[in-house]
Amino acid sequence: MTRPVTRPVTRPATRPATGRLNRRLAGALIPAYCALAFVFLLAPSVYTVLYSFNDGGRRNLVWQGFTLDNWRNPCGAPQVCEAFANSLQVGLLSTLFATTLGTLVAIALVRYRFRGRALANLLIFLPMSTPEVVLGAALLSQFLTLQLQLGFWTVVLAHVMFNISFVVVAVKARVQSMDPRLEEAAADLYASPWQAFWKVTFPLLVPGIAAAAALAFSLSFDDFIITNFNSGSFTTFPKFVYVSAARGIPAQANVIGTAMFVAALAVVIGAQVVAALRRRVSGAGSS
């Protein structure tokens, strides 16, 4: 995907003093700029965490003082825990379906040759390049036409739809990096296609599938726009927050948001540390 750059080289070879100064300056400038960029990136998360300790009661917009009450009673505000539980359910269910369907498609796209591959690729790509409002509006038109009752299941159906494409892309990369000879070796060693899949293909794809599932879950858990179009009176966590925004969001929402934030951060940082330790062990082993 990288094109080689071919450009005539006409510059003089060295510009001693200014060159070194530039390099120094650039050397310090980029980290400094990035530090500011990280402040910008993380400020809202920090605010979310801070305001989970705000003694703001119903309208958690202005800082009123520190309290642990919200944390002692995270379900204290009406509906907040119900919405959270709904989001978890929708997230798990849609992740399960989307990961299964998407993984099969990814394997087929990489490993098999059949007519209409190009069309299939387009079909996978389009939902990702369509704005969420359009996806939501289109599904709503469909559900209205079919006169389906909006609720839990319509939300799950919608989430599976937008997640399939992301799963396909994530798993495809993994399938592509897998040596096709391995599956042939399995067949050569008397494994039926079914056994070859479960004994060889699947175990090797697990990291990719797990990453895809994590992505699908977080996209589903965090989705607001498509959910808003297709949920009727069913409430998910983001929808709860959005709808309460007009009246003021209870601090309990921040408690739940913070808990999710910390849990996810712990998992990811843990994974990083484990990987680093493993590198160190294998590095020591090989040297």
């Binding site: 990288t2 059949f114 709503l140 990369a173 296609p193 990453a211 996810a264």
Partner: protein, 315 residues
């Protein structure tokens, strides 16, 4: 809850999972036939049922007319293309504004995301733990709920918040000037929301870049800026293209930022209009035709952009 933003083509590895291999894909190993179709079928049928057909349903709805003498929200099938004319005449402003805001947010995300990606991929090369931790910081905003983050901006940019007070003190902002309920707040929130989508694909392409090329550039051109401009930047273009698409498309359709941080006069984006038409006014045909227009406009823009940047193979 791990979040990764895979580009349309560039699968971005989650921190810790390692970059996807260069691909042992081999034509010789491609098998022909029915099994492949069998594996494809459930997923593609699902997308046909819940994406393709809905898009046609949307198209159909956009041409409906009200049932004569019927209630509000009652429509019947027709081929009333004039819906588009009235929709565009009434709402060209929010539509244009959506693209303008999306453009600003894309530029902003690039300005924030590229240096971060560069720092992690190039400066952090050879220090995997540092790279991993910085990548965690990049995706960390995702771990906070999107709507909560948007509301946090409301708190950060509040009239009596530190930011506004500092700006007053510096006389950047007139004494009665405010940041909430302005386009500025909307664009800041949009930018913030999409920085990770921008930074990750750029990181992936910079990561793959052979450091010896940069050294060679350093030998030949001397200046770091020249080296960057002539070697690093062109080679990271696939990531930039991916990142801008991943930012621009969802930003153009977003309305959470606009409705939580904007005002009612000059920040309305097309998503808000579609939402209002659908749910408040039950004006399905207008909402549907605006959706179709948005989708078509994005398809055209993306097509032009991709052709222009010569990276069709990305998709």
């Amino acid at each position: 809850m791990t979040t990764v933003a895979p580009g349309p083509a560039i699968g971005v590895a989650a921190p810790g999972t390692g970059a996807p291999g260069t691909g042992a894909e081999d034509v010789a190993a491609r098998r022909a036939g029915a099994a492949g179709v069998g594996l494809m079928l459930p997923g593609t049928l699902y997308l046909v049922a819940f994406f393709v057909i809905p898009v046609f349903a949307l198209l159909a709805t956009s041409l409906y007319v009200p049932v004569p003498g019927g209630d509000v929200g009652q429509f019947m099938p027709a081929f009333h293309w004039q819906n588009y004319v009235t929709a565009l005449a009434d709402f060209w402003q929010p539509l244009a504004r959506s693209f303008w805001f999306a453009l600003l947010a894309t530029a902003g995300a690039l300005a924030v995301g590229y240096p971060i990606a560069y720092l992690i991929a190039v400066r952090g090369r050879g220090r995997p733990l540092l790279q991993g931790m910085l990548l965690v910081l990049v995706v960390a905003p995702f771990f906070t709920s999107f709507v909560l983050r948007t509301i946090a901006w409301k708190q950060i940019l509040a009239d009596d918040g530190y930011v506004v007070q500092a700006l007053h003190w510096l006389h950047v902002l007139p004494p009665d000037g405010r940041l909430t309920a302005t386009s500025f707040a909307v664009v800041v929130s949009l930018t913030h929301n999409f920085v990770p989508f921008m930074a990750l694909p750029i990181y992936a392409s910079l990561e793959r870049l052979d450091p010896r090329l940069v050294e060679a550039g350093g030998d030949l051109y001397a200046g770091p800026w020249t080296t960057f401009r002539t070697v690093t930047l062109p080679l990271s273009m696939p990531g930039v293209v991916s990142g801008t698409l991943l930012t621009f498309i969802p930003a153009a359709g977003d309305y959470v930022s606009a409705s939580l941080l904007g005002n009612s006069t000059n920040t309305a984006m097309i998503g808000q209009v579609i939402d209002t038409r659908f749910f408040r006014l039950l004006d399905y045909p207008t909402a549907a035709s605006l959706s179709v227009v948005l989708m078509a406009a994005i398809a055209v823009l993306v097509g032009l952009y991709v052709r222009r940047t010569g990276t069709e193979d990305l998709l």
